[in-house]
């Protein structure tokens, strides 16, 4: 079985996000970029399935500008067999991403597609679901445990009421939750090995995917700042202040 893994590059989770002064986006110059953490989990799960003999090949997919290659090399260093780079200078919205994956699914014929449940930049949480719908295959989202046997995926999902276990016929789309696994560390020799692994480059335009953006971002703004607190001497003063503000 072949597994296709979405591998998006985002602003690193440690970075303090700053909105551009003109409100047109967030600052990405000089900012550390790394793999979407849920995508790292997706890749780790695919690699474990391959190590268990369930899958033979793991392919990481990235959609982005020309310099995305270095990011995909990290996925290869982690252990993916090869990478597909869909080249587009613009960030794509979830529906476009799902359409790109559909084209790649048609070409690659994977038994399983594992995506992060959401990317930590736009937090859309849509691509996996949209891909399943377009592909007309089952979806199992927010997986915290995944087992593959007899052409079926058994997926444990964390839901509000507890744990839900569902079965999905393969091929299917699985999206990963935080507790599915802990991604491995990359080893130095594997970075060297990754240099000789293949990256297929496909121009976005060559895929024949409709690139219409259905969503328009009007403005970015930082959350309002908390105003400064006031120190009070004692409970009486606190009560007086609260009264004064009409809170008591």
């Amino acid at each position: 079985m072949k597994i296709l893994v979405g591998y998006k590059r985002v602003v690193d989770y440690n970075v303090r996000i700053q909105v551009k002064p003109d409100g047109t986006g967030v600052v990405t110059d000089g900012v550390k970029l790394s793999a979407n953490p849920f995508d790292d989990i997706a890749l780790e799960e695919a690699l474990r399935l391959r190590e268990r003999g369930v899958a033979e090949e793991v392919v990481v997919v990235g959609i982005g500008p020309a310099d995305l290659t270095a990011h995909l090399r990290n996925g290869l260093a982690m252990g993916a067999n090869r990478a597909i780079h869909v080249v587009t200078p613009e960030a794509v919205q979830p529906l476009t991403a799902a359409r790109v994956f559909l084209k790649l699914v048609e070409k690659e014929q994977p038994g399983l597609v594992i995506l992060g449940k959401q990317a930590i930049d736009d937090d859309a949480n849509q691509t996996g679901q949209m891909l399943a719908a377009l592909w007309d295959r089952p979806q199992a989202t927010f997986a915290s445990k995944l087992e593959i046997a007899d052409g079926k995926a058994t997926v444990t999902r964390e839901v509000d009421a507890g744990l839900e276990v569902i079965e999905a016929e393969l091929p299917a789309v699985v999206t990963t939750d935080l507790r599915l696994n802990e991604p491995r560390f990359i080893k130095l020799p594997d970075i060297m090995k990754a240099k000789s692994k293949p990256i297929d480059t496909i121009e976005f335009a060559a895929l024949g995917v409709e690139a219409h953006d259905h969503l328009r971002t009007t403005r970015y703004a930082a959350p309002p700042k908390r105003s400064r607190g006031v120190m009070v001497k004692d409970a009486a003063e606190l009560v007086a202040m609260l009264r004064q503000k009409g809170l008591l």
């Binding site: 700053q18 080893k187 130095l188």
Partner: protein
């Protein structure tokens, strides 16, 4: 346990700063077939580089002749220099000392510049590995340096192996080039092992604390460079500020305190915050926001403190050797030059470090340091004597027949009550950050909490007994990130080390008066994530 994996290179470079990257680029330019790798503890290149920084471009011209057509992302030509002696409420503009004349220089972000240099090294075939910390030196059977050992990943706080445990590999190389920056942890071991400092004075350091601000439009004059001394430092403490106007309404600013300060109650971070409230600075910042912040020790010992920079199998370049020029407040040009010189030496010697020490000492790098060797140590006698001495040394071009001595910074602290505490003419601060914890937030520092503490304190029983009595635990004050805290719990008082806050500045390793703190690299990729510092 399986046998440790090994990778072989001709040359391994520790540290992807200006020295290490320039070295790697130059060596590949001269000898394209030599295998070179650069390892870097930061998760991404430049994320743990912090500098002013105004740079002299000549060494960069020599290294990358076309660089001006493809400059680093932050690169603002210097326009005007100002030099101020501050008082609490005002100050006096002084003539700009010759070393601080920045005509022809550029204001850069050294972090961004390194991130710009790294791909150029890679294009020449250098393997650059961010996120991997060199934990130890390795030696061959003759005792020569034979490479470095990468730190293990996935070790729990108690030393046990977590599920993702990954053993660090050995990188074996004919030559190991230490380019770790000031007070490198591997360099520290090598200096001791090979007695590299037996013929030199002890090394000296300062701590620089920096913030990058985004300020309201219309206040910035791109290219303007302002240095000051005086307030908030007392006349016995060596301290001064820098304030550089960048483009896009950004200002880089910081405050440098000599770590030879004597008052155990001195707080370098507080001095920086005080200075920001000076009437010449505060109006520039008010209403703005901090983009990034951090701290780093600076090497200031200069000519007389330079250790031997070669040993069997290894050599030292840049600030880990100690090449910063204090009166110029610049080290990048020296780092680049020494890196290039080391590459040229190795290319000519068939990768033999022997002879590099003599080569460096005979070069313009050391000639530059020799001229200014007496300026910084002169300030040990106080501000006014230091200024007179600096004027003399500058006028004579360092021709004095004497060389003033450096003392180790850890030995300079007075004990509590031993001397009168200097009067600190401090103000009520109004600009953010409120305290060090609020400040460290802007360093975006990240350490997995479940890993061994990377600040080794050899004997913590001293902390609440002897040190509390003699010095009042200065670690709780000199650390710019509130790593050290004395806490009280059921068992009594004890030292608590908040290692996750650490910004890798190395001040504790330098200034601790008992020399029992050993800074070692944490898990690779841990530490601050500076943006454009």
């Amino acid at each position: 346990m399986s046998e440790r994996e090994t990778m072989e290179y001709d040359v391994v470079v520790v540290g992807a700063g200006p020295a290490g990257l320039s070295f790697a680029i130059r060596l590949k330019q001269l000898k394209p077939d030599v295998g070179v790798c650069v390892i870097e503890k930061a998760s991404t290149i430049g994320a743990q580089i912090l500098s002013g920084a105004v740079i002299e471009p000549q060494p960069l011209d020599a290294l990358l002749p076309g660089w001006r057509d493809n400059p680093p992302p932050i690169c603002v030509p210097a326009t005007e220099d100002e030099f101020w002696l501050l008082t609490r409420t005002g100050g006096r503009k002084l003539p700009v000392p010759p070393g601080m004349n920045n005509h022809g220089n550029f204001i850069v972000s050294l972090g961004a510049m390194c991130a710009w240099l790294a791909p150029q090294a890679e294009a020449l075939g250098v393997d650059v590995f961010p996120g991997f910390a060199a934990a130890d030196n390795i030696y061959d059977e003759r005792g020569a340096v034979a490479g470095v050992r990468i730190g293990d990943m996935g070790v729990a706080k108690d030393g046990s192996h977590k599920p993702g445990y990954t053993q660090g590999i050995d990188i074996r190389a004919k030559v190991t080039v230490l380019a770790e920056g000031a007070r490198g942890s591997l360099t520290k071991q090598l200096v001791k092992r090979f007695q590299l400092d037996k013929d030199s004075d002890p090394q000296g350091y300062s701590i620089g604390i920096k913030e990058l601000w985004q300020v309201p439009a219309g206040r910035v004059q791109p290219g303007k460079i302002v240095h000051s001394f005086g307030w908030p430092a007392d006349s016995r403490t060596y301290g001064g500020s820098f304030l550089y106007h960048l483009d896009k309404d950004r200002i880089a600013l910081g405050y440098v305190s000599g770590l030879d300060y004597t008052d155990p109650n001195y707080q370098p971070w507080e001095a920086f915050q005080q200075w920001k409230n000076h009437p010449s600075v505060k109006p520039l910042l008010e209403g703005g926001s901090i983009l990034s912040a951090g701290a780093r020790a600076i090497v200031t010992g200069g000519w007389q403190s330079l250790p031997k920079v070669e040993m069997p199998g290894a050599l030292l370049i840049g600030d880990t050797a100690g090449l910063l020029n204090v009166p110029k407040v610049k080290g990048t040009h020296q780092a680049i030059r020494s890196g290039m010189l080391a590459a040229e030496h190795l290319a000519a010697s068939g990768l033999d470090p022997a002879g590099f020490d003599a080569k460096l000492r005979g070069s313009e790098v050391m000639a530059e340091l020799k001229k200014v060797r007496n300026i910084k140590p002169g300030f040990k006698k106080g501000l006014w004597w230091g200024m007179l001495n600096a004027a003399w040394e500058t006028a004579t071009g360092g021709a004095s027949p004497w060389t003033l001595k450096n003392k180790a910074d850890w030995s300079s602290l007075h004990k509590l009550g031993e001397c009168e505490e200097p009067r600190r003419d401090y103000v009520q601060r109004e600009l953010p950050p409120r305290d060090r914890l609020a400040g460290v937030y802007f360093a975006a520092t990240e350490h997995d909490e479940d890993q061994p503490v990377h600040l080794h304190v050899a004997d913590t029983s001293i902390c609440v007994t002897r040190c509390a009595e003699e010095y009042g635990n200065p670690c709780t004050r000199f650390c710019p990130a509130s790593v050290y805290e004395i806490v009280q719990d059921d068992a009594g008082k004890r030292l608590q080390i908040n290692a996750a806050n650490c910004v890798h500045c190395k001040t504790c390793d330098i200034k601790d008066p008992y020399q029992i703190i050993d800074w070692v690299p944490p898990e690779g990729g841990s530490g601050p994530n500076y943006q454009n510092l």
